[in-house]
Symmetry: D2
Subunit: 435 residues, 4 copies
Amino acid sequence: MTDFFKNIAPVKYEGENSTNALAYRHYNKDEIVLGKRMEDHIRPAVAYWHSFAWEGGDPFGGRTFDRPWFDKGMEGAKLKADVAFELFDLLDAPFFCFHDADIAPEGDSLAESSKNVRTIAEIFARKMETSRTRLLWGTANMFSNRRFMSGASTNPDPDVFAYAAGQVQTAMQVTHELGGANYVLWGGREGYETLLNTRIGQEMDQMGRFLTLVVEHAEKIGFKGQILIEPKPQEPTKHQYDFDVATVYGFLKKYGLENHVKCNIEVGHAFLANHSFEHELALAASLGILGSVDANRNDLQSGWDTDQFPNSVPEMTLAFYQILKAGGLGPGGFNFDAKLRRQSIDPADLLHGHIGGLDVLARSLKAAVALIEDGTYDKVVQDRYAGWNAPEAQAMLNGERTLAQIAARVEKENINPQPRSGQQEYLENLINRFV
Amino acid sequence: MTDFFKNIAPVKYEGENSTNALAYRHYNKDEIVLGKRMEDHIRPAVAYWHSFAWEGGDPFGGRTFDRPWFDKGMEGAKLKADVAFELFDLLDAPFFCFHDADIAPEGDSLAESSKNVRTIAEIFARKMETSRTRLLWGTANMFSNRRFMSGASTNPDPDVFAYAAGQVQTAMQVTHELGGANYVLWGGREGYETLLNTRIGQEMDQMGRFLTLVVEHAEKIGFKGQILIEPKPQEPTKHQYDFDVATVYGFLKKYGLENHVKCNIEVGHAFLANHSFEHELALAASLGILGSVDANRNDLQSGWDTDQFPNSVPEMTLAFYQILKAGGLGPGGFNFDAKLRRQSIDPADLLHGHIGGLDVLARSLKAAVALIEDGTYDKVVQDRYAGWNAPEAQAMLNGERTLAQIAARVEKENINPQPRSGQQEYLENLINRFV
Amino acid sequence: MTDFFKNIAPVKYEGENSTNALAYRHYNKDEIVLGKRMEDHIRPAVAYWHSFAWEGGDPFGGRTFDRPWFDKGMEGAKLKADVAFELFDLLDAPFFCFHDADIAPEGDSLAESSKNVRTIAEIFARKMETSRTRLLWGTANMFSNRRFMSGASTNPDPDVFAYAAGQVQTAMQVTHELGGANYVLWGGREGYETLLNTRIGQEMDQMGRFLTLVVEHAEKIGFKGQILIEPKPQEPTKHQYDFDVATVYGFLKKYGLENHVKCNIEVGHAFLANHSFEHELALAASLGILGSVDANRNDLQSGWDTDQFPNSVPEMTLAFYQILKAGGLGPGGFNFDAKLRRQSIDPADLLHGHIGGLDVLARSLKAAVALIEDGTYDKVVQDRYAGWNAPEAQAMLNGERTLAQIAARVEKENINPQPRSGQQEYLENLINRFV
Amino acid sequence: MTDFFKNIAPVKYEGENSTNALAYRHYNKDEIVLGKRMEDHIRPAVAYWHSFAWEGGDPFGGRTFDRPWFDKGMEGAKLKADVAFELFDLLDAPFFCFHDADIAPEGDSLAESSKNVRTIAEIFARKMETSRTRLLWGTANMFSNRRFMSGASTNPDPDVFAYAAGQVQTAMQVTHELGGANYVLWGGREGYETLLNTRIGQEMDQMGRFLTLVVEHAEKIGFKGQILIEPKPQEPTKHQYDFDVATVYGFLKKYGLENHVKCNIEVGHAFLANHSFEHELALAASLGILGSVDANRNDLQSGWDTDQFPNSVPEMTLAFYQILKAGGLGPGGFNFDAKLRRQSIDPADLLHGHIGGLDVLARSLKAAVALIEDGTYDKVVQDRYAGWNAPEAQAMLNGERTLAQIAARVEKENINPQPRSGQQEYLENLINRFV
């Protein structure tokens, strides 16, 4: 045991009347809701990067966190791994996620970098023999090093494409070996800073090829997990090719990958793309590409990705409603892609962030389940579309009528449709009963 | 002749030293640039709705324009047609565009409404015998009447879907008969106000079916023009299914329509979707769905669609560059989807808006042509991607290498790519030489 | 009794287990919280304009509501007044608010318009003899008529300034006679559409003079209520001079009115100005200009003022916290500046909107009170600033030290301040216990 | 001479037909416009921080620039100073600006840090004996070090306030000794990350006191330059107390500093605050607090401060128009608060950025002068307000009429003002003649 968390005791469920700031008040992992353990619905994961690699910097200031593993190379990486699993244990976290660059320092060559990653992954493997924490997903960081400044797979330099392929091979291999349930690609630099120096078509073809290589490689090595793309509209780029769920869907269709790749949807990225989170979930579900979730929130007044811990039960309830209606996330889960505020410099703050986030998810899950079990809401929506069940409506929808036939019927029957209330306020009040 | 424009004389090209506010200073329709008449590059159109049907209202105030054809039913519609063609003549406009509801008042039934539309279309046909102004495109307004408050093709009520089909039949028919070069669908209400009462998947299927019906109908009646969808992210809805070019592409792919339908891209809608206009053009061109343009601009500080006349030569130069590199707009053109400001209540203001817009387009076209003819810029971009011409790079891109093979090569050759300057400032300065 | 609301029964408090959609579940007006009746904390008001004058139009479509009083001149205005007081009674609303133009049709002259307003105001007065509903505030609509298209007090035409003065005189007079607790000025057009035709300094001087005239007139007629300005950054204008609370404060200081005028702060306007609502409340309180509240919410993805009914308990709890810490709103209150969605066309929707809004306010008030009564939160914040209680800190703050003296002390004592955790996640979790 | 810029020759004015990318095409410092040398109008400055201290990092990636002075302590600082003055010479820059932390590394104590700053300032002083480059302004960086993570003057810890005072003392002293024309305060952390842990009123009082100390100290040491505050709405904070010009004005009025402090207005900060740059200039001029300018631009699609070099002549022309009408910037100037894009890693890029920026400013200045000298535009605006010159209008404006008197006159004379066109499109076209 390191002494990083000092005397902090393991976090337990104490019920909603507890005033212990380091206890769960709503997250009760074994509680059965809608036929499943709460933990199996949520599948929450701790993000290695924000919790252990982020230093508390921002564009106007440097590191504020004072972590004993910073600036210490592989020794630091090992200490970091120790502390990480201590946090997983304290939180009783069933999952974690990482980028290759989060867990091990970069070497002087790809070979050395890969070796470092494999070394730490082996340490993870040993720790996972005694810890219950599993790997939700792994990924490769192909955006921080300056070699990626103009993109990874979309770089004008084919050597960078090649380098990225090498990096993914290792990251996917260790993900596979650690039993990762998913492998994620986040295209932080796959976009452009200025269209002036960019050939969009060429770059998207490069990216389509890269993703195809990844899908084929996964199959070859027997990786059965989901391959996920994480949409984000911009930042650090001016424009990212994975703008949002709809954009990713079109991209997958263009390159014939829509049956092989799904989306990892992040709350804050949905917001940056000017969508609600529940919209992105509902859309992905309707397109068959709902894979997993990056749980966090954005500040409503800041124009960049703030990656704060989720704290809105009303928002997350609508999200869980969409997820439950879609049949759940399968091998996906809720990764806390959330970082402490730069001023939250104490080790205990790492616990406050995750405890608060988990309690919000638990309350929201329970609220969404109650909403579904009550049934009133689903009935209202079902009734709204009931007209489409009529035979003539189905005939139109199924392609059994031409435009001219439909038009003729309107004139003949003098159809003059009258509007019906959309009942938004009533529905909002109804939802508010459950949150 | 009506006396609406009183003593305003036809607008002529007078060159850039003219101080006549009612002359063109840059738009010289017969000037040859890049091998084509300026007018044939731009194909500018006057929008009937903004110029003749809009009343100068906004969410906090009513009509400010005092047009003699308002509130006068079919008589007003005829006077409006007279004035419209007078404006087309004054401006020497080669094209115009309209919605059915712009040109004729709605009747008590679809049949009567259609009859009104056909009546005015016949007047147009007669006028077009003596005027040189052609029809760039027609469309049906399926968003203003309260029957469409919950959508047209995406309405929960199938009767509204049917009614919309009837309306499109007539709008497309008159467009066809008037020789329209394109037919546009703009889904003003095809989206939702609240996800709470909405089934996204069901509504998109309805919309896919509707568009299929339209495409099939066009073929049946022998309409050879382009079918166009106009992306817009929101407004009046909270979310519109035609969010942006990327979204429309995915939608077309899902319903197998990507070879039948293209995009009509609007400057202001691009901006609302958090894209630059040139991005949307470049993306559509790379996806093969660049069809036509709605030329306008949005106020940079207002969060809604302001539909102002274009007035930025730097912005439009980048747009023309993309269009010229894509081989032009074909049967598409530049429709001025731009309305006078609510305080611009004089008839002369209609001329100022269009003259300013056309001069900006002409300057921008000439600047883009000069940029291309100079060649320096294209060369810089070409050089940036030159590495991809190497055999091994092509092999990667064409699928002749696996991820493992590429990774092995990186390790073997110890590839360590070094970044090269993106030269953004240099390129911006270079562009500025031409605007 | 009109038959507008048909069989809808008066809305009663039934407790949070009620599933009656037309009952209050949290708003229990006589319940004592923090020593005062709930109703006296909230002082909720129905807005005449949204509830009775708004027609359901938006920039892309016309009227959707089908109210029997539309288009019926003074007869319609009387029917509207009947229905309004029926709604007040059904909701048991203690207050309402109105613009002059909401209650009576405009006449052919200012004199006739004023007469119409007075006529309806007299009807109100008679109704208020038997109804318990009081007037929270009145105001003059100086933005809808085309005469105000370039502003009211800030118009380039001094006759419009004069006309506006005439209109305010009547609106303030009837507000006074009806016992209004406040008089509000909302400068919908006091700003500009383009800076190109605008002299900012001249227009602000006009506005400063106008406000001074209003303050002096109020004193002269013995009106004891608060005079309030409602900040809004834009819309319908590109820029409004009352941008936000900070801007209004500077404006009041410039014209020496900071002791005579306070702010009516609207949730949605705060959001449009890129502030949280609680920020605007806290700022106004610290500047001594917190007057009243327009309760609503904006859609998070729409770039314009959506004026929806409030439905977020977390948001409103933070607002009530600020209000309670400031000692309450005094003669102010919570006006529901909220309109039904355009698709909510049924009379019952008017009740759903207000019931949902009131229940949200009631829950939020109770949560804020519990937070304050618990005391933990206040204590954390107090401790954070405790260092400023030390004598030397007070000396710095009170002006008893010069920069040089302070600098000398830092060097002498080698002061090297160490950062302390800002505890944001802990505080967010703490707040979440109460909402 | 270092070899950093290798063979780059001094940048000369070569006229607009030059195709030399490293020449000025419009900036001709000695050209007389509106009676003054171009350089004396613009007073351009190179920003030390962006040009020499920024490393090319962003929130998702580290350093991309490879500067020989990085990580080399005081030796690096001296090399950096050498290169800086070489750039000033190459550009023939009349001014530069710096933060204390830009020029010298931080020491282990305030005393050591101050000593480092003074050491480099002395090197500057010697260089300025042979260079023509002067100091436009200096400032203290009170936001990067972790001690300032919760603010400088607004910190909950009074020791941080004191430390900041010590830092300002030195920064102001060296600014004074180097002949700086202004001293700037930019409150990067003077705001909050969460209102939950913040007392707005207390913090603003601290900031008011700090600014008062600075003003008094400047007077004491005989510093005659302008004291400037730079408004910014947010970032890195969620909310900054210096939100925009209007907010700063109210703040200055509250603490009685409006005659002692002016604004340094940044293009990108105006945009982040949802204002046009010319708005902020016009407003500051009308309030008497226009001091200086930070010239840059923001990307229109990115929600954060991108600090790009200015490249829009239309935008900057409107800015120069406001500045010229206000009588110029006096001792202020145009500081290029603009950084190279992260991918612009070559030394030559530093020249491209500044050359492009200066040429844009020069073209814009000339365009604004031509607009003013033409006179048509000013006349239109003057005519628009001409009605206010009438005696009765002046009487209203000057406080010689009461509201009741004005209202009585409206009724008596039956005043019914008719709207006049705002002529926005005409004015936009008119402006476009000059850009």
